[in-house]
């Protein structure tokens, strides 16, 4: 019986992986394409075509300025994915550096960094981002910076605990005895071994970044109009729910698509790895 279950799980693991790959791949292709080319201009307005419902001409209809929603969703997806990738890249890198140093060496620095990350952790992340944005001002660069800062502690924790686990492992002791340099131990001997754990947190972080970015744009503090962004489109669309429900559905579903695709993908990776 036990064997049958695991058989089932690995199949569905593959299914997860396949579905996730297809969805994520599609989102990436559309999003990246959207940064460079869209069927219509994302900003050109047309008084004649305000609030056109979805049709062959305008797949997702048009908005209050007569702009093609499909084109804007494409561009918005690209922007959101790009911002989230940068956020994860920056906070992940910072997390590795801080986590490696504090985890491996411990001591006073470790204590200080951990207290700080505790404080940041206790502080709701959206609030933190709001405060940082209030200081820096609106705009996509500042969203990257503020989310980048907010996301660091979660990476530090993961990396630190892995480094603590591995710093006393036999092969590391041996390497130390052989006189291998500290930096080499940190980044050549230990780092590759925490990759599988780190990868999981990167994937979770990426999804959280997508949700956080669109949430900030929804509150009007992210990407600035007339640049397309999924969150801002959603908040604009909220006023026209009754007359033009498609306006809200398109960007909302695009966010769900990206997040779902990516979480199916990571779930698939996890299940197949087991």
């Amino acid at each position: 019986m036990k064997r049958i279950r695991s058989f089932n799980e690995s199949i569905s693991g593959n299914k997860y992986l396949a579905a996730g790959l297809i969805m994520t791949g599609l989102a990436l292709v559309i999003g990246i394409l959207g940064l460079f080319w869209t069927p219509y201009s994302t900003t050109a307005m047309s008084a004649a075509e305000k609030f056109a419902p979805p049709s062959i001409r305008h797949l997702f209809g048009t908005d209050n300025f007569g702009r093609d929603i499909f084109s804007r969703v494409m561009k918005g997806m690209g922007t959101t994915i790009g911002i989230s990738a940068l956020v994860v890249f920056f906070s992940g890198t910072a997390g590795i550096l801080l986590g490696a140093i504090t985890g491996y060496f411990g001591g006073l620095l470790d204590e200080a960094v951990m207290r700080l990350t505790d404080a940041v952790n206790g502080f709701p992340s959206i609030l933190m981002a709001l405060v940082i944005i209030s200081i820096l001002g609106n705009g996509k660069h500042n969203v990257i910076i503020s989310l980048g800062i907010v996301f660091i502690p979660s990476f530090v924790r993961i990396v630190r605990s892995e480094f603590i686990r591995l710093r006393d492992a036999d092969y590391i002791r041996r390497a130390r005895l052989m006189g291998v340099g500290r930096l080499r131990i940190l980044f050549v001997h230990i780092l590759p071994n925490i990759f599988s754990v780190f990868w999981v947190s990167v994937m979770i972080g990426f999804n959280n970044a997508i949700l956080a970015e669109s949430g900030m744009s929804y509150l009007g503090i992210g990407v600035q109009p007339p640049d397309a962004s999924l969150g801002k489109m959603l908040s604009d669309a909220q006023g026209y729910l009754q007359s033009a429900p498609w306006y809200a559905l398109a960007p909302g579903l695009a966010i769900v698509w990206i997040v779902l695709g990516f979480s199916l993908f990571s779930e698939g990776v996890r299940r197949c790895g087991e």
Partner: protein
């Protein structure tokens, strides 16, 4: 009717038209000089007021209470300290000044029944109306008037609460019904400042004082972020008013939810609708557009590169497609303007829309840009206060029309406070889209473009302008004043000081159950004449 129905007889109109003809300043003229339409509405008002039986008027609480959706929270319950237009529009129902505006932009007498201004414009004499009572039941005395005026003018503690009133030198009680105000310099526009609320003597300093005024409604309660409740003042000096027993001003989070709330029936009246909202409500509500007193503009900082070049500013004015702004954002119901005067102030307004045209003139704009050394355009950052959806949307249209002439404009949404601090006070910006809420004084907007004005946040510089403005202030002859003001408007346009866009229409949705809502050219929600339609 025991106080005698003086309404019509004592109604005083301070009419510019009347004033232009006469040299005598002030005096509560007979209101009959007004349009006949007004008279009939007044007539019908008193008639229906008398004909509505008591039972109907005081019917079920629900039947006689109305919820008005408002956009901003109250900034103060002290009428002299409140500065937000959104607060003043509500306090209008609770407080009154010696005079108050009517729906034609004229002043009528309120707590005063008459007033005169001396020939030299330095002494104002107000006669108090008989038996005007505060909400606490006390009759308004000359002492209360003196206290209120001294409080706003800073005579009380050295801090003027209304900058225009700081010119007041002394407030003297002549007799128990007469108050004389002496001012430092003559100014034909000062009378508008006497709309300042009359409050009970000493109440401004009393601890825990509830707001008490003489208006048609008295204060009941205020809950931050939710709203303010007022109830009928049964002893209001205008007989028959108000009709409603209770009015709740409910703060609506965003214009988006306002629409949903109107449709859901949780609010009955909501002003400042967007075009698409107006369309959505067309069938189920009375949707009425009236001119507002907000001047919307793309303000250009005249002191920074490359906008310090007049040709660049002119190019922007040519490039702007105001028609598109009006069409996309204002639903086509805004009044396009080109200079610093409300079109509703007919005696002073000059139509200068032809100078740059209201559509986009791409060739002319490019020509000027090339002349100025920017054949390929330049980068322009437009800061916009993010809480104003109307300005944000305007920004999107403006960016599009500037793109056509090669100007690469970007929008920077800023918090309102950041806007006040960095842009309005700090003048650290290139361009900004915002609105200025005007009062009824014709010089209100022109005043701020003097080189040294504290409010000249666009850094406009013109010696000629400053000189003419001084001359305009010095004269007591309104005709001459109008001519000077016309010149000022023209200079602003020729120098392309700033890109005025429009006076947006104020589109209001009113439940079909209600009637009698009056539109004012100033920011006011007068609920005193609103009543339920008789079935």
């Amino acid at each position: 009717m025991k106080t005698g129905f003086h309404w019509k007889k004592k109604l005083c109109g301070f009419l510019f038209t009347a004033l232009l003809a006469t040299a005598v300043l002030g005096g509560c003229a007979d209101g009959t000089g007004e349009s006949s339409g007004d008279d009939s509405s007044m007539e019908s008002m008193t008639e229906s007021g008398a004909s509505v039986p008591e039972e109907v008027q005081n019917g079920s609480d629900q039947g006689n209470s109305v919820v008005v959706g408002i956009q901003q929270d109250i900034d103060s319950l002290d009428p002299h300290k409140a500065t937000a237009a959104g607060t003043k529009e509500i306090l209008f129902n609770i407080f009154e000044g010696l005079v108050k505006p009517d729906e034609n932009g004229n002043l009528i007498c309120a707590v005063a029944s008459d007033y005169t201004i001396s020939e030299d414009g330095l002494v104002y004499t107000f006669i108090l109306r008989d038996n005007v009572k505060f909400h606490n039941g006390n009759v308004v005395t000359a002492e209360d008037v003196k206290y209120s005026l001294e409080r706003v003018s800073g005579l009380l503690d050295g801090t003027p609460l209304m900058s225009t009133m700081s010119t007041i030198q002394a407030v003297d009680i002549i007799d128990e019904k007469t108050v004389q105000v002496t001012v430092g310099s003559a100014n034909t526009e000062l009378i508008y400042s006497f709309v300042a609320a009359i409050i009970p003597s000493g109440s401004g300093e009393e601890a825990a004082a509830e707001p008490v005024g003489t208006g048609p409604f008295s204060y009941v309660s205020y809950t931050p972020q939710e709203g303010i409740v007022v109830e009928k003042n049964p002893e209001y000096w205008q007989d028959g008013l108000p009709y409603l027993d209770q009015v709740t001003f409910k703060i609506v989070n965003s214009p988006d939810t306002a629409l949903l709330e109107l449709q859901g029936g949780s609010i009955d009246i909501y002003a400042y609708l967007t075009d698409s909202q107006a369309q959505a409500l067309q069938d189920t509500f009375q949707v009425i557009a009236s001119p507002s007193n907000v001047v919307q503009a793309l303000f250009l900082n005249n002191a920074v590169e490359p906008l310090n070049d007049v040709r660049v500013r002119q190019a922007i004015l040519y490039a702007l497609d105001k028609d598109a702004v009006n069409d996309f954002v204002g639903g086509g119901s805004g009044a396009l303007i080109s200079s610093a005067m409300l079109p509703t102030l007919q005696d002073f307004y000059v139509d200068l829309n032809d100078v740059y045209g209201t559509g986009a003139n791409v060739e002319k704009a490019k020509e000027l840009l090339t002349e100025a050394g920017f054949p390929d355009g330049f980068d322009l950052e437009i800061a916009i206060p993010s809480n104003y959806e109307f300005h944000m949307q305007t920004g999107e249209v403006v960016v599009e029309s500037l793109k056509a002439v090669g100007i690469n404009a970007t929008i920077q949404a800023v918090e309102w406070n950041t806007w006040l601090d960095e842009i309005y006070n700090g003048r650290q910006y290139q361009a900004t889209i915002s609105g200025i809420t005007c009062d009824m004084t014709p010089g209100y907007l022109l005043n701020r473009f003097q080189t040294d004005s504290k409010k000249n946040f666009i850094n406009f510089q013109s010696e000629e302008y400053d000189e003419i403005y001084q001359k305009a202030q010095a004269t007591l002859d309104l005709k001459e004043k109008a001519e000077y003001y016309a010149e000022l408007q023209k200079i602003l346009v020729d120098q392309a000081g700033t890109a005025f866009l429009q006076v947006p229409a104020n589109t209001t949705a009113i439940s079909k159950k209600l009637e009698g809502y009056r539109f004012y050219p100033v920011y006011v929600q007068d609920m005193s004449t609103v009543r339920f339609v008789e079935e």
